[in-house]
């Protein structure tokens, strides 16, 4: 059996991914998970069960704001949008992640 090419998300990375997908425009929950899956080339799978709690958590932290809007298909849907604090947080965490990934790579290749 070939190994599953899909990866589970590392602890704490879901929040960063959500913030990143909302950088350009506001999206509803389903679109967020689709976008993450799409951009990562189907490698990153968002566990639906943890997506919505994460959205609530981010909303309470003031990083995103939810608004009811109308979806592409004309149905009522909840859209999430980055707040100013969220934008700042995204910059900081993206930077942290890049440094972390770079450092991990160096350590792993050094052997």
């Amino acid at each position: 059996m070939p190994p599953d090419p899909r990866l589970d998300l590392l602890q704490g990375t879901l929040d960063l991914l959500i913030l990143r997908t909302l950088q350009v425009n506001s999206l509803h929950g389903w679109a967020i998970s689709e976008r993450i899956q799409q951009i990562s080339g189907d490698v990153l799978q968002v566990n639906q069960g943890s997506l919505y709690p994460a959205l609530h958590r981010l909303e309470h932290k003031g990083l995103i704001r939810a608004e009811w809007g109308v979806s592409e298909l004309g149905r009522r849907a909840r859209f999430y949008k980055l707040t100013a604090t969220g934008k700042k947080q995204l910059e900081v965490e993206s930077d942290n992640w890049a440094r972390f990934a770079h450092a991990m790579g160096r350590v792993l290749e050094s052997a």
């Binding site: 509803h28 069960g49 919505y52 709690p53 609530h56 958590r57 704001r65 979806s71 009522r76 849907a77």
Partner: protein
């Protein structure tokens, strides 16, 4: 910070509404996933079943979202209380002043209201306060006078028109 406070207050008062919103949101997600599954050629029942399955147990998700809100509420409340207590310890004189100010304000308020209540709000302790009359007499110069005790007793025995007759005693110290 203010946003979080707003959400906390909202969660406190609009619990049912928030739960309904969350249900709707989950429902929407499952609908979208079903649609996507249909496009890959599944039949309706299968598409729906898969969408449900992929979402995981909706009830558990709902509970987790609730936890996020509640944990946030309890945690921040505890933090706020601790912060306030630390502040008191750091500036005890200030804390004492605040307590004294609030205490004094409260005390004065209560006292004034008690007087106001007794004199203005509460009715006289008689069966029909509107049939109360005060009797006095005026001399030629227009000065008002009360009655002596004997006059009062005489009036009382003769006053058949008044159901109850009580003296309004005014003490004067000579």
């Amino acid at each position: 910070m203010i946003g979080d406070l707003f959400l906390r207050v909202r969660a406190l008062f609009l619990r049912r509404r928030i739960e309904a919103d969350l249900d709707d949101e989950i429902q929407f997600h499952i609908e979208m996933q079903t649609r996507k599954n249909l496009q890959t050629g599944m039949d309706t029942a299968e598409a729906r079943r898969r969408a449900d399955f992929e979402f995981g147990r909706a009830a558990a998700v709902r509970e987790e979202c609730r936890d996020e809100r509640r944990i946030n509420l309890a945690e921040t409340l505890l933090q706020d209380i601790r912060y306030a207590l630390r502040g008191f310890r750091r500036a005890p004189l200030f804390a004492l002043t605040v307590v004294a100010t609030i205490g004094l304000g409260l005390g004065v308020n209560t006292a004034v209201f008690t007087i106001f209540n007794a004199y203005i709000l509460r009715r006289f302790a008689v069966s029909d306060a509107y049939s109360l009359y005060q009797l006095n007499w005026l001399n030629r110069a227009g000065r008002g006078h009360g009655f002596t005790w004997r006059q009062y007793q005489e009036l009382r025995t003769n006053a058949r028109h008044f159901p109850i007759f009580t003296p309004r005693v005014r003490c004067r110290y000579a």
